[in-house]
Amino acid sequence: MDNLSVKHIIGIEDLTKADIELIFKTADNFKQVINRPIKKVPSLRDITIANLFFENSTRTRLSFELAEKRLSADIVNFSAASSSVKKGETLVDTVNNILSMKVDMVVMRHPNPGAAKFLSERIGAKVINAGDGTHEHPTQALLDAYSIREKHGEDFKGKKVVIVGDILHSRVALSNIFCLQKLGAEVMVCGPTTLVPKFIGELGVKVEHNLRKALEWCDVANMLRIQLERQDMKYFPSLREYTMLFGLDKKLLNSLDKKITIMHPGPINRGVEITSDVADSDQSIILQQVENGVAIRMAVIYLLAGQIGR
């Protein structure tokens, strides 16, 4: 198979296992490219991509931009603080503007769940979801799984991954659950009882509220960033108390009887989810995740662009 089964990348929920494996194989090639002296290929010289960021982002936006530039695409950037899109008219108007600008592909981050799907149903261009509120963040999940594959091998069967933190408000958690399960891994979520949805078990994940027990079970721990900006009310009393219950420090890590892999989607709140010595330890693959992010995004963009009649 050399083509994706989907027309847009809205969420991992829509992808097949074959799609994910195709993206990984394509990313393998691009990872070689970005480690060469000339880090660029001319594949997308005739493609224009609009990066629309309706929500603050630094690393995802940079990663997409870099991926697009490495593929030689023309790019335009648009960002707006979330406050100016509260009324909602903006997305519909944006749709019309995009239609007029005749761009080929749109990478969009947006604060509202379903916004990427909304866009894909109304414009002719390809849409890549760079995070839609608390729904999905498919490229993050792909790069996370790709990084696990790099460290632990291609066969995910029997691999145990725990996702720790604010599961309720996390698009990374949902996309990761879908992606890892499709690849055959076992997934557990761990977090404060107020931040784990009551019905998450229906997705077939294990639920744990004790960090030590979760770490003892897993091969890989993905420590999510606590995103206070996404919470409409207080779900735990203070960051201090969160750290006491769900923070990972070197002492806890060393007390486990195996060497687990530590991941974090970034940016890290050092001293909150994980301490600096854990983030910078040899068990951490946080920086590899960043590098792989560019390769994965190149792969996704390249594969979608291949569907555009040129």
């Binding site: 519909v92 379903g114 729904h135």
Partner: protein, 420 residues
Amino acid sequence: MNILLKSCTIIDPEGPFHLKVKDIYIEGETITSIEDSISLAADKVVEIPNLHVSYGWYDAKVNFQDPGNEVKENLSSGLTAAALGGMTAVSVTPMTNPTLSNKTQIEYVRKKAEYSPVEIYPYGTLTELGEGKNIAEYYDMSQSGAIGFTDGHQPVNAGIMYRALLYMKNVNSKVVSFPYDYSIFGEGQVNESKASVLTGLKSIPNIAEYLMVERDLSLTAYTESAIHFTGISTKESVDLIRDAKKNGIQVTADVYAHHLAYTDKEVLGFNSNFKVLPPLRSEKDRQALIEALKDGTIDFICSDHTPEDKENKDLEFDLAHFGMIGTQTLFATLNNVAGLDLSDKINAIAIRPRKVMKLPYATITANSRANLTIFDPKLEYSLNADDLASLSKNSPLIGKNLTGKALGVINNGIISIFED
């Protein structure tokens, strides 16, 4: 004007002609004759295959937006939609702008129905101006035609509810409660279930509803007053109401048609036409609602017709307003619900709501008033946006094939036949 309905199947569960095929002759406002075959001359003869007739349907909760938001729906477009849906009466909610909080406003709304076959029985606000601070003038508004009192989706605190229930006993009317605790669901958008997990949308748990049902039932029992719950959507609420009825508490309840027809699976595609309040619930809840309707725990069905324009509906899901229109398609929506037979449906949209709201009702016999809906429960058709009389088109049924349709209404000497 005289009208002759030829060979129609009478659906009148409490009447002598239930399920019989008869000719019906109507002179002015009165049914004068029901026979196997009538050959009198008439100004209009209605002879349609599979013609059915029942007491006029009554949509006991519609949210027309007049006064205040006439762009979405005014009383005249709303009444047309209701008539096309087979209604001979509707009850409008009071949280308009301004609110229906005194007799002048109640009379304004009532007057709009003067020349329509559809009567309007408005609700007044439960508190002055719907502000939740002091109880409103129930007696004065009742005298002008208000049939119950509610602050719509605005919850009132326990103290206000307590005084409202007590004071209502002077008036022979009803407190209508939309039972929700907003401090629990916050900015919730969809049912708390697998659907909220999969969409990432903020959730509205069942307990946000039944906690308030519990509170209001306790207050009703304590004050020995009567309460009506509107928009019951959860199994737990149904169980509480069933027990309360057994224990002699004066409680009645309604369910919105879409909660019988759909579940929270519908929101997985982020279609904002399925964003309603209460949210579409699980299959377990839906089955409990059907069961409750059959055993009388839930008294009747209404549409909660909520018109919203494109600007407020064609948006990202969590920015879109709650609600769907439905008075014109109420019957077709119910036809999708397995487990309800035709008598159940007619009971739930014509007879029981009138009994709960203390409106006139009589079985279909010679010499009774002609308040009738004629319909074909098997008629198949596809619904276009242009077919909807509502000024707003926020219906998930547009473009769908439907079964069952009202063909006309006859009430107060006004005859409206739209299909022959």
